[in-house]
């Protein structure tokens, strides 16, 4: 059954500092009654779809860079900060200690050279709207000199603690979300990467 959802699906631009939606966002569907075995009315379905317009703010550079094959982290360069020099991945716009604006730095080479699995898990179950292939394998990744441990999805190879992994980037048709960067076991050939992804 077609709900007409694909037709003229809404997009959003920012014009003069304001969100400007265009196209179709809402596809009304009727409510339907919920009854028990005896046919007694107990409730009603409330279907609808909703599109949020979400700002990445100071993290936009991170999400923009993934599609260009770059992993951007951030670093506190405030010499008065007790943790100055700390590098954050996940990216933090501001230092969590001194709240100064962090410096954006490129850690792509560091990540390609030495990314180690701190922990992992494997699941066949997902929530609604999942787009990753099942089974999903999460890996938590330690980088040299980074004080935090990034979570990512491993899409080639079997995870184990201490294994070396390599980031891959959705340089074709990036979606500008975290899954534009996925992870593969060291030694995975370029020919074996998911469609649209490259080292």
């Amino acid at each position: 059954m077609s709900c007409g959802c694909e037709e003229n699906r809404g997009t959003v631009k920012v014009v003069n500092g304001r969100y400007k939606p265009s196209g179709k966002f809402h596809f009304p569907q009727p409510n339907t009654p919920i009854r028990n075995e005896q046919g007694v009315l107990l409730g009603i379905t409330n279907p609808r779809d909703i599109v949020h317009m979400h700002s990445y703010g100071g993290e936009a550079i991170f999400f923009e860079s993934l599609g260009k094959g770059k992993l951007m982290a951030s670093r506190c360069d405030n010499s008065d900060c007790e943790t100055t020099g700390s590098i954050y991945m996940p990216f933090r716009i501001h230092c969590p200690d001194c709240l100064a604006k962090n410096t954006v730095i490129d850690i792509t080479d560091k990540a390609k050279a030495n990314s180690i699995v701190h922990s992992f898990m494997i699941t066949e179950r997902t929530g609604a709207f999942n787009t990753l292939q099942i089974p999903i394998k999460f890996v938590n990744i330690e980088f040299d000199g980074v004080c935090t441990i990034l979570m990512g999805a491993l899409v080639r190879g079997e995870p184990s603690i201490g294994m070396k992994v390599i980031p891959i980037f959705k340089t074709q048709n990036p979606e500008y979300i975290i899954t534009d960067m996925l992870w593969v076991a060291e030694g995975t050939p370029a020919s074996d990467l998911p469609e649209g992804y490259s080292f």
Binding site: I34, N36, L42, G43, N46, H54, Y56, E59, F63, E82, T83, S86, Y88, P90, R92, P96, D97, H118, S119, F120, M121, I122, T123, E124, R125, T126, G127, A128, F129, N130, T131, L132, I136, F138, N140, C147, T148, I149, L150, M151, G152, A153, I161, I177, I178, T179
Partner: protein, 476 residues
């Protein structure tokens, strides 16, 4: 932050003692297609009134401020759901506010109600919590819960919260469990124990008479977590009524002293940075000097294996009440057993066992009502309610349920509240032939842990019989 100032770690000093006067719970179930949330909330409120021989109308006359905990507006598809409930409870014109701290919402709701009495703003407060998790299909429910992780960095990966948790389980199991089968069996034993205790609780959604093998043979949810390692998804409500001393003794003969501490840590487990282990009163720095040698891979604290928020909540609560050693000073506990592994982690965070040795709390039999190794009463029984594994995890109600369950033991009314045939019949549940009275004999003090997410918020609630207050607390 990875270092903490003296000002931040200062022991809370309340203006006056606070008492738990009464509380009540609804039935807990996976779904209530025939009940609105307000009906469940009124069930809980009515039980609270009856517990102290009042009518709901009489009880309401005492309440001065109301706190409402439910974790996710999404589930009920109703923003400001608190206001709907407040209206249906007929509690206008009292000031009221919603509380949201993920899985710890119940504990946090009590925390707010507690501070309001302690400050003198109110002489009597209501803490009411609930969750409506049945009005979306389970996969959408998992999707909503996953939005309590970071929506840009974590949620898009699978939309499955258990996965964000399982990585912690994996690390603990490898580092402190040393990947031993015996450790895996100890985890499973918790699932058997808590579901077994749930059989004697008429409110409980998930009672099961199972074996360790049943747990180990249950389907994988997120490796290494199996289905029977994971808690329930529930609907239901629970409330507590708190008051100052004078008001409490007007309302009942035997209110219980209540004190609550709260802590926090990063929402994303990814953001945890290394720090020194903050010590509890029963620990010394020396005892952890060789931790990384004894347990290779444990060189990060809290890393993925501990919960800083639980440790800090315990730090505050122990200092407020004079607890030196929870195993010695408490008679029973209710812990946030969202997963068997996090139950073990929490034993260490709150000082029941040192870091690395949580499993021994189970293996010694100390955590049982009756120690299976000795046949004697367990040293510190845990989760006799059935916990989140066997009783319920109706998120906003969970932390309140735990405190009431401890209270029933200290009030010496556990059998009355769990054995009453009329209650079993009202909930349309079969009281088991082998129903057992789990009353902890002579219980005077207990502790409850309410815990959110991968450890983002934790509250530590201490209940004490007023005749058995520990020395060294803030009012002693």
């Amino acid at each position: 932050m990875i270092t903490f100032s003296d000002k931040q770690l200062k022991s809370p000093k309340m203006q006056r003692p606070v008492y738990l006067v009464t509380g009540g719970m609804s039935k807990f179930a996976r779904a209530f297609p025939d009940k609105r949330t307000e009906e469940l909330v009124i069930d809980a409120m009515t039980e609270a009134a009856e517990f102290i021989n009042m009518t709901p109308a009489q009880l309401k006359k005492y309440i001065h401020t109301c706190y409402y905990g439910h974790f996710a507006d999404h589930f009920g598809d109703q923003l400001l759901g608190e206001s709907v409930i407040h209206d249906r409870l007929g509690l206008d014109p009292l000031g009221n506010i919603g509380v949201k701290t993920g899985g710890a919402t119940g504990g946090s709701t009590l925390w707010e109600a507690y501070k309001t009495v302690a400050s003198g703003y109110s002489d009597c407060t209501l803490a009411m919590g609930w969750e409506r998790m049945d009005e979306v299909p389970t996969d959408e429910g998992n999707n909503y819960i996953s939005f309590a992780a970071d929506k840009d960095w974590e949620t898009p990966m699978g939309h499955i919260y258990t996965g964000y948790y399982a990585v912690m389980a994996q690390k603990y199991w490898q580092v402190f469990g040393k990947e031993e089968d015996s450790f895996r069996r100890t985890m499973a034993e918790i699932a058997v124990k808590n579901r077994g205790y749930a059989r004697f609780n008429p409110h409980a959604q998930g009672p099961m008479k199972i074996t360790v093998e049943d747990v180990l043979n249950s389907p994988t949810v997120a490796y290494p977590l199996l289905a029977l390692d994971c808690c329930l998804m529930s609907v239901g409500a629970a409330c507590g009524i708190l008051a100052d001393e004078k008001t409490a003794y007007e309302m009942t003969d035997n209110p219980l002293r209540i004190d609550i501490g709260a802590g926090s840590h990063t929402l994303r487990v990814a953001d945890r940075r290394n720090m020194e282990i903050p010590l509890l009163p029963n620990e010394t720095k020396d005892q952890y000097a060789d931790l990384a040698q004894r347990f290779p891979g444990s060189d990060r604290y809290p890393g993925f294996t501990g919960f800083l928020a639980a440790r800090v909540a315990a730090h505050y609560a122990y200092n407020m009440t004079g607890i030196k050693d929870p195993t010695e000073d408490m008679d029973l506990v209710e812990l946030h057993d969202a997963f068997t592994i996090s139950d073990i982690q929490t034993y260490e965070d709150i000082g029941i066992r040192p870091y690395g040795e949580g499993r021994t709390y189970v293996e010694s039999g100390d955590c049982y009502h009756t120690n299976p190794n000795t046949g004697q009463p367990g040293k510190l029984p845990a989760n006799l309610s059935g916990g989140l594994l066997g009783n319920m995890h109706s998120v906003g109600a969970t932390g309140i349920m735990q405190v009431l369950e401890i209270g029933h033991h200290i009030w010496d009314r556990w059998a009355e509240m769990h054995g009453d045939e009329k209650k079993w019949a009202k909930f349309d549940r079969q009281k088991p032939e082998d129903w057992t009275d789990l009353q902890v004999k002579g219980a005077k003090r207990g502790l409850a842990i309410s815990h959110a997410g991968v450890g983002s918020h934790v509250t530590c609630t201490i209940l004490q019989h007023p005749d058995k207050i520990l020395p060294g607390g803030m009012f002693e």
